[in-house]
Structure formats: structure tokens, C-alpha cells
Symmetry: C2
């Protein structure tokens, strides 16, 4: 390997720009010089050994740089990040440069062996791992302190010298991808492998989950339609539907784990070794010794963090939850007022008015969710988590709890305090449909429209009527750098999570929810695809082996829905009529059934293996081989 | 490493016998010759490169062989099994021969670097990994087929040529250990590290769990005593006790995981890599290719196995459960009869008679448990699991379900069908105490007494009045080979599991159960220790990182106990009196409290980290180092 590094030359004839670095305007000359030197410098001298070219914009300011790398450099980088690729014998193996010949489609002149997303991920990794040596500060910026081992790029970002780093779109690939993805109306699967090649595993897995979830909802929707059409209200039919729903939701979540394993095995991320996690960019503390690495880095007492979490964040979240409940009570007052109004002066207008409180409440919920989101981000950032993953988990937990209460508290109140099933059905429908329309609008169509208008203005300024394909590189970069940044799959999963709640929590009251969810998800796939391809900057690929904490969130929701559905069925007049003598017997029976269903759920989750047998065998084979290799040593 | 193997000589001056091989009497000469040749043969020739010596018994028959190994051979074997030892810098690392100098207490002439149990484990591993090369059968026994890669020792065992392999006791060490363990009556911890050195991790972990569990029960016992003494029957006091118990049982199980991590980290097994599992000795099938190893070995269709499990084993278990319930109903008839008898002719004798049905039932339960155990073993063996671990899991599951029903069904019946709290308390006490006495007797005292009698006869036959210490090697081997074989920790854990059930399932009815459990466990420690040291053959050490499926079993029990205790409290007349108007409200309140408690349990289990922070840091450090090492390559 050391040998191969020396072969590597930093100058190559065909420079392919992969990643764009935008510096702040007016960045000092010495800083730029130092940074580019560090980026092109040999690995042995502590550089990243990448290629970098300045891009002169029309106004002559040199603040945008294009980064690329030679083919050989990328292959060595693929080994450094631990990429897993397919071998000629169809098994998946960690790529190493020395064993490169054994990999499928590898040829020294095949520059498509690594996908563009992989190349960009490698470059991002190498840039982020460019570390300070003896520099005490960033040249030209004495306030931007450095210490040996500190990631230079992260310091540049936090001190505002570096505005952004983003990967370039590949216009041609993008056009192909968007055509096969959402370009034509067709019935069929999404091109998940192509999406993965272009956007990376995290995003492809989200779309895989969205698609899977939509398919999984179809049986519920199909079974739910006749209940609505024929207004079936028999006790036994309801119980059947609810039981089917509850067991079905367990099955689909378990089966998803298997499908996820199949997908991520094929993509190589199931086998990818977790890299050591660096502190997240916003993390701060006094300089100390990291007990794990033995390196100097900021250290922050975990007791202080715990205190911040339990003494500030927790009370704040509780306060917000209380406030949300308070708003809910106002909504019910409004609702009552609208009902009274309708009774007094019955008219078309007044019957329309009946829906107004629900719509207002749905809008208010959306607004509260968004405001709370900022607060949660601020608080979680203030908790000063060392790792990005821990930050994300705490943020997700905060947001999930609040969103759950915000969206479902009113429904719980209607169902279990007011006992008004008709109102419940109506509220559920209004909430579900309003939030779906709002989301689709706010998430995709609005940004798309803004982006389109901006592009038009941009092109007009450039005084040309070229299509996207004919844009010069400079024009492309200029356009893309102004595009919004995709902030990750959080909001997309959250939307699905809440939808799952609407569908499963009260499924036996409103079987039509699944139908709306399916319809929404079909358009969601298209609007999300549009969003990814046209609205946002290309995001960096992020390898992942599963959907992480969301699996747990969905499973928790399906446990809660067992409880709610059992209570709802128990409260229905049809079931009530079965126990004319003793309400006690009714409640006890419901409790017994609920416990049985929960037990069945847990047993099913335990019995269904998380990985299909052939993936298990392949993993065992790899493990066996590595053990054998160790013995041979 | 290859170099070191060539240095290794099979002849060494000071031969230390570690393991005993007993062949069947009359084993053919050519077989013995072939086996000993394979055992002493160089590793390069496919041998085990161990030392072996025949032991001539008094009657001149040569069927017992002593196996040992040179110090160097053992060190190389320690590397092969992946032993983890402590380094000079107090960190735990996988032992390799080349890095031997960095390990604590290592010196080329320190033959105590590896404990005797480790040496014996290494020899067992090497013997079991002695594989057939081109042999089609065991020489002299054409019916004992071999194929390339088949473990020779396993075939010898299944074809009855090899009677047993067992490790030798170290009389001196054993005396020291038993003195510090149970030799004197003292208050204090068990010498877990010494137990681990002598018996290995699995057994040490059992004793660690037993000790921990006993300590953990003390708070329950202490709080339970005044309830009994002052006959507290207030509703609030019961609720407090039960709530404390439920949360406490969650806490102790979570804390055990942390303590287990501390222990196994110190013993090195937490870091030990899982070795590839060979088929278990009883596994049979047609010769095929293992998809994982690519080697020829018996293959058995997993569909056939599933069919056997679901079409035969499952119905059989259900039938047994039904039979057990039937026996229970007979017991209740008997109980009723005894009660009637007592009413008719009231006397001391008749009041004594009241206890007879319970005692008979307890005895019958014990007998049924033991019979069922054989059936379960037969069935699980017939299911033909490839791996020992999978066999164990299926066996444990079968036995657990049956034992659970057998022990607790009558209590559930009394509590939730008869609603007779007084009878429940009385039955619980009888069952608990009878089963404890029976167990202590059957498990330890009886075998100990039998062993003692045998030893006396043995010594008399040898016409000598020597103490244990002065026995010659031949006498020691002869005595030990007749001792019973310790069949693993299964029964010991099962006993604790059922005890945990008695204590926690109905804790609010019989707070004194914890007191009996504590008393029993204190004597249990002593009788189990006696059993290990005096009654049974020394077992081979078995590295393990946790108590495996038992953790899950205990956690499930603690979930069930939340449900039972909530119902019991809900049924108590004191709580009943709180809801004079509506029984509905009572049931709903109980259900709500139960769900809240369950939620708190799951959140607590989720929030409490499974490993203490310093162990986490140490593990992260090791992972980081191995990643760094990979990068350096």
C-alpha cells in the first residue's frame, strides 16, 4: 500500500470536479494558499493528496474551488473508508487496493468502478480527516484556534471561513435517474439501486422504506374500503379488522428488517465496519485527553450534560407538552362554539363552519411543531453531545414525543374522555387529510416553485435560453450553490411515523385512513423524488445499514395501537351489548384480549428472524473466512 | 508463528497430566496406536502435537490415558482459542504468542501464566479439533465412518470407543479453593476469581449470579418481614411494597448486566471472539457441503426440522401442559376432600392432613418435571439441531414453559379463579419450602452422601487409610473417573428462575417469600460449592460473556409479575373498598396503573446502560486501536 501511495501523482490530465468548496468572500490570500496546499499535499506530509482547482466567477472573485481526485487516489480512499463491494464470485467484501483485481467490474481503466456518490463520499471523508499538525490557528485568523489532530475543515466551517462544501450534480445521470424514477407515470418499483448510486444509502433506504410501507398498507386499505362503503358496524367484523391490523403491523415491521438486510447487504453497508466517530462540529469543551483515542480534544463532563438534560431539557419538554394540551382544550372550546353556532342558525355556511376549528387546529399544530422543532434543536445543541449520533437520538426523542402528543392528544381526548366516536372519526379524517396536504405543499411544491422562479431569473440574467443540459460548469456550480440544503431524512420519516399513527392507533374507528395514507404515499414518492432531484443541492451519500431509531419508534407505535384499539373495540356499543349483565366482564375480557395480543406480538417479533437465511449464511461465511484467515496468520 | 511451531518438541521432561481419556475396555490395539499417533503428531501433519501417556491400572488393563502439553504448546493453543489476557498496562488483549512479552505476569518460565482450567480448555479444544484427513473410518472399527474434516474425538465418543474425557482435579488448589469458598462460616463474598480460575467462566458466572441475586433479594426480604410480623394488611402499604418489588426487580436485572460486564471484562471473555461452531455430537444427516465453510459435513434440511418442531414437539408440549393442568385439578379435589375431612372430624391429625395434598402435589410436580425433562431432551435431540447452542435454546424453552406452568398454574388458579388469598398464601409457602428442601436434598446432599460412601469403599479396597491429599495419581484418576458428571448450569439456573417466580409473581400476598429465598440461597451457595468440589468430576471450563437466555427468562418473569401483582392488589378488599360505587373504575384504574408500571419498566430497561461507562470506554478504545491498526497496514 505504501508503494502505491508513492506512485500517486497529484497532477492528472483529466480533472473531474466532484465536490465544491465555497469560501467566504474576502477570505485572506494566505488562508487560501495554506488550505489548498494542505489539500493537495502528499499523504505522507499530512495532506489529503486531492486535486483542487479555483473557479473564476463572472465577477472575478475567487471564492469557489472544485475538488477532485485521481482514479488511484479514489481507490485508496475507498479502502480507507472501508467500502464494501461485490466480488467476481458474487460475495461482498471490504475493498482493498491490493485485492482490487478480485472485484466485479474492476479494471484499471474503468473509472465507473466507484459510483460518483461513493467518490464524493470518499472526498468528503478525506477532507474532514485533514487534521492540524503543528498549526496553533488557521493562518490569517488568529481567533480560529487549532490543536494537533483537530479537523481543519470543521474548524473552517465553525469559524465561518468555509461557507459550504457540497457535491456536484451529474446532470446527465440525474436526467436518466429522474426519468426512470418519476419522469413517467408507471406502475412499478422505484429504481432503488440507481437512487443508491446517485444519492447514497441513507436516502435510498428512506425511499425503499416509503415504497415498502405503501405496499404494506395496501392490504389494510383494501380491507378497509368495504367497511366504509357498506358502513359495516358489526362487532365481529370490527374485531377481525382490528386484529388483522395489529398483527399485520407487527409482521410488516419485522419483514422490513429482513428487506432492509437484503438491500443493505447488496449495497455493502450491512458489512461495513463502523468508523470511529469524531466529535460533532458544534461540540465544545476544555482541551483534554480523550480516554478512547488518547488524543488531545475538547472534553465535556458527562455529568454536566446529564444535569442539562434532566434539569433543563426535560422540564422544558414537559412544559411544551402542557402548553400543547392547553391549546387542545382551546380547540375543544372552539369546536363546542361552532357546534352551538350551527345549531342556532342552521345553514350551509354554518355546517361548513363545523370543519373550521379542526382545520385551524391542524394548522396550529403544524406551526407549533415547527416552532418546537427549533427549540428542540437549540436545546439539544446546548446539551453539547460529543457525537452526532447521540445528538440525533436526543433530538429525535424530543421531537417525537412532542409531535406524538400534538397530533394525537386531541384524538385520545375525544376517544377516551368524550367517548364521541363520530367526532373522533371526523377529527381523524380532518387531521390526516389537512396535515397531508400541508406537508406535501410545504415540503416539495413550495420549494420547487421558488427554485424554479429563481432558476428562471438566473438564466435571464445570464442572457441565454439554454436548457439545463447545456449549462457550463461555472453556471451549474453557481446555480447549485444557491439551492437549498437537504437536511436529512428526519422530516420524511417523521411524516411517515405520524401517518402510521393515524392509520393504526384508531384503525377500527376509521378504516379509510389506510386508503388516504396509500394515496398520499404514492404522491409522496413523486414529490420527494422531485425534491431530491430538482429542489435541493445534491446531498453527500451517507452509508447506513438500517433506519436506526425509527424502527424502534414504529414498533413502539404499534404496541400503543394494540392498547388503543382494544379499548376502542371494548367501548363500541356492539361489544357492549354482548355483556348486558356485567360491565366488569367486558372490561376484564378486553384486558385479557389486549394482553394476549401484546404477548403474540412480542412472540412474533422474537420468532421471525431479522435477517433472511441466505443473508445469515453469507454473513456467517464471511465471519468464518476471517476466523480462518486469522488462524492461517 | 510458523517458526515457533517447529521449535516445539513433543517430548518434554516434566509431563504434567491435565486431561484424562478413558477408552472402552477391549479397544483394539491398532485403534489406540492410531489415536495416540494422531494426538502426538506434529501440527503440520494434522496432529494435535500434545503429550500422551498410558496409565496402567491395578488390573493391568491399559484403557486410561493422560494427556498433557508442553508450556510452549499451551501458549500457542491459547492463541488458537483466542484467549484474552491482561496486559502489563492493565488493558485486556487477545493473547498472541508473538506479543507474549506485553502480558502481565508473563515469563518464559512462569508456568502459571495460564490457569490450569485454561490449559485444560485448550487441550479439549485441540482434541476436538483433531480432524480426519483421508481416513474413511476409525482403524479397527469399520462401522465408525469418517470423512475429511470430521472431528475424530466426536466420532470416537458417538461410536462408544471413547468413554469419556475429563480434566483432572488439582487436589492442592481444590483444597485451597474449598477452604476459602465454603470451608469456614464467614460473612463475605465468594472468591469468584478463584472459582473462575479453577472451574471456568460459566460456573463462576453462575455463582456470581447466585450471590448477586441473593444480595438483591435482601432489601425485599427486609421490607417483607414487618408485613408478616405486624400482619400489615393496609392497602397503601401493599401497593408500596408491590411497586417497590416490581421496580426493584427491573433494576436488579439491569444492574446484573452491568456487573456481568465488569466480571467478564476482567476475565477476558467479554472480548473473546466467538469461534465458529461445529455441529453438535448427536447431529446426523446425509453428507453434503456446508454453505458457510464449504466443507463436507452432514447436512439436515431445516424444513424437516421445522416440521418436527411444529408438528411433533409443539403438540407434545401442549399435551403435557394439558396433563399438568389435569393433575392440578385432581390436587384441588384432594384439597377439598381434606378440608371436608377436617371439618367432619376436627383433630390435630386432621389439621395436619390439610397440608398433605399440598405436599403430595409438590412432590408430584417435582416428579413430573423430571420425567418431562427426559422427554424434552429426547425430543430436542430428535429435532436434530446442528448447533449445541440452538439445541440448548430449544431445550431450555421447552423445559421453562412446562416448569413454569407446573409450578405456578395451581397458584394462578387459586388466585384468579378461586379468589382465595388465604389458600394462595398457604400453597405458596408450602410449594416454595417443599421444593427448596427437595432440591437441596436431591441436588447436593444425596449425591454427596453416595459419593462419600463410594469413596470409603474405594479406599477400603485399596487397603489404605490415606487422606485425599496423599492419593497417588493412579488412585486419583480411578476415583475421579467414577464420579458423576456435572451436566451444566441448567438446573441451577432453573431453580433460581422458579424461585424468582415464587418471590415476585405473588409478592404482595406473601412478602415472606423473599426471606425464604434468601435463606435458601445462602445454603444453596454452600451446597452448590460442595457439589462442584466434592461430588462431581471437574468440568471443563467454558468461556462465556453472559448468562445467555436466562437473562431473557428472568426479564419475562418480571414482566409477568407486574401483571399478576396489579391484579392481586386490585382484588384485595382494601382496594375494593376504595371504589364503593363502581367496580368498573376499579378495574380501569388497575389496568391504567399496570400499563404505567410496564411502561416505566421498559423505559428503565432502555435508559440504564448495559455496560458501565468505564467498560464502554475500554471497549471503544480497543475498537479504535484495531481500526487504527488496520489503517496502518
Amino acid at each position: 500500500l505504501v508503494e502505491s501511495w508513492s506512485f500517486l501523482d497529484t497532477v492528472e490530465s483529466n480533472f473531474r470536479p466532484l465536490v465544491v468548496i465555497e469560501l467566504a468572500k474576502g477570505t485572506k490570500e494566505e488562508t487560501i494558499e495554506w488550505l489548498t496546499k494542505r489539500i493537495v499535499d502528499k499523504k505522507a506530509n499530512g495532506g489529503a493528496q486531492l486535486l483542487i482547482k479555483p473557479m473564476v466567477t463572472e465577477d472575478g472573485v475567487e471564492n469557489i474551488y472544485l475538488v477532485g481526485a485521481s482514479h488511484l487516489r479514489l481507490l485508496l480512499g475507498a479502502e480507507a473508508v472501508g467500502l464494501v463491494k461485490e466480488c467476481s464470485d458474487n460475495s461482498m467484501r471490504t475493498f482493498t487496493y491490493s485485492s482490487r483485481k478480485t472485484f466485479k467490474h474492476f479494471a484499471d481503466d474503468n473509472h465507473n468502478f466507484l459510483t460518483m456518490a461513493e467518490c464524493q463520499y470518499i472526498i468528503k471523508h478525506e477532507l474532514e480527516n485533514l487534521r492540524a499538525k503543528n498549526e496553533k490557528m488557521i493562518p490569517g485568523y488568529p481567533q480560529a484556534k487549532l490543536y494537533p489532530g483537530k479537523s481543519i475543515v470543521r474548524r473552517l466551517l465553525t469559524s465561518g471561513i468555509l461557507v459550504q462544501i457540497f457535491p456536484l450534480h451529474d446532470r446527465e445521470e440525474l436526467k436518466k435517474l429522474s426519468h426512470s424514477w418519476y419522469g413517467r407515470v408507471k406502475v412499478g418499483y422505484q429504481p432503488l439501486d440507481d437512487i443508491r448510486c446517485y444519492f447514497g444509502e441513507t436516502i435510498a433506504l428512506y425511499f425503499g422504506f416509503l415504497e415498502y410501507f405503501t405496499f404494506a398498507l395496501i392490504p389494510m386499505a383494501v380491507i378497509g374500503i368495504p367497511y366504509y362503503v357498506f358502513a359495516w358496524e358489526d362487532y365481529d367484523k370490527y374485531v377481525m379488522f382490528a386484529t388483522f391490523n395489529l398483527l399485520w403491523s407487527t409482521v410488516i415491521l419485522e419483514v422490513w428488517k429482513r428487506i432492509c438486510a437484503i438491500l443493505t447487504y447488496r449495497w455493502g453497508t450491512l458489512l461495513m465496519k463502523r468508523q470511529f466517530e469524531e466529535p460533532r462540529p458544534g461540540f465544545h469543551g476544555v482541551l483534554g485527553i480523550n480516554p478512547v483515542t488518547g488524543r488531545e480534544e475538547p472534553v465535556y463532563s458527562s455529568i454536566k450534560r446529564q444535569l442539562r438534560i434532566y434539569l433543563v431539557s426535560l422540564p422544558f419538554v414537559c412544559l411544551c407538552l402542557y402548553f400543547s394540551l392547553y391549546v387542545m382544550m382551546i380547540y375543544f372550546d372552539l369546536e363546542q362554539w361552532a357546534l352551538d353556532y350551527h345549531k342556532e342558525n342552521e345553514s350551509n355556511f354554518s355546517s361548513l363552519m363545523l370543519y373550521v376549528p379542526s382545520i385551524i387546529y391542524a394548522v396550529v399544530i403544524e406551526i407549533m411543531n415547527r416552532i418546537y422543532r427549533y427549540a428542540a434543536e437549540f436545546l439539544t445543541s446546548w446539551e453539547n453531545h460529543r457525537l452526532e449520533s447521540s445528538y440525533q437520538n436526543h433530538l429525535i426523542l424530543k421531537v417525537l414525543v412532542f409531535n406524538f402528543l400534538n397530533c394525537f392528544a386531541s384524538l385520545f381526548y375525544i376517544a377516551f374522555v368524550l367517548f364521541d366516536m363520530k367526532l373522533l372519526r371526523q377529527s381523524l379524517a380532518t387531521l390526516l387529510i389537512t396535515s397531508q396536504i400541508l406537508n406535501q405543499f410545504a415540503e416539495s411544491l413550495l420549494p420547487y416553485w421558488l427554485q424554479k422562479r429563481y432558476n428562471r431569473r438566473m438564466k435571464k440574467r445570464m442572457c441565454s435560453k439554454k436548457t439545463d443540459m447545456d449549462l457550463s460548469l461555472a453556471e451549474q456550480v453557481n446555480m447549485e450553490k444557491e439551492m437549498g440544503t437537504y437536511l436529512g431524512t428526519f422530516d420524511d420519516y417523521l411524516e411517515l411515523f405520524l401517518q402510521f399513527g393515524y392509520v393504526s392507533l384508531f384503525s377500527c374507528v376509521y378504516p379509510l385512513a389506510a386508503v388516504f395514507a396509500v394515496l398520499n404515499n404514492i404522491t409522496e414518492i413523486y414529490s420527494d423524488a422531485l425534491k431530491m432531484c430538482r429542489v435541493y443541492k445534491r446531498p453527500f451519500a451517507e452509508p447506513t445499514a438500517n433506519i436506526g431509531v425509527w424502527q424502534l419508534a414504529f414498533e413502539t407505535m404499534s404496541v400503543i395501537s394494540v392498547v388503543t384499539n382494544c379499548i376502542l373495540i371494548g367501548m363500541s356499543p356492539q361489544v357492549d351489548a354482548l355483556f348486558p349483565d356485567s360491565k366488569m366482564d367486558l372490561v376484564l375480557t378486553v384486558a385479557l384480549v389486549e394482553h394476549l395480543l401484546l404477548a403474540i406480538k412480542f412472540i412474533m417479533a422474537f420468532v421471525i428472524p431479522d435477517k433472511p437465511r441466505d443473508i445469515q449464511t453469507k454473513l456467517a461465511k464471511l465471519e468464518f473466512e476471517s476466523l480462518e484467515a486469522l488462524k492461517q496468520q
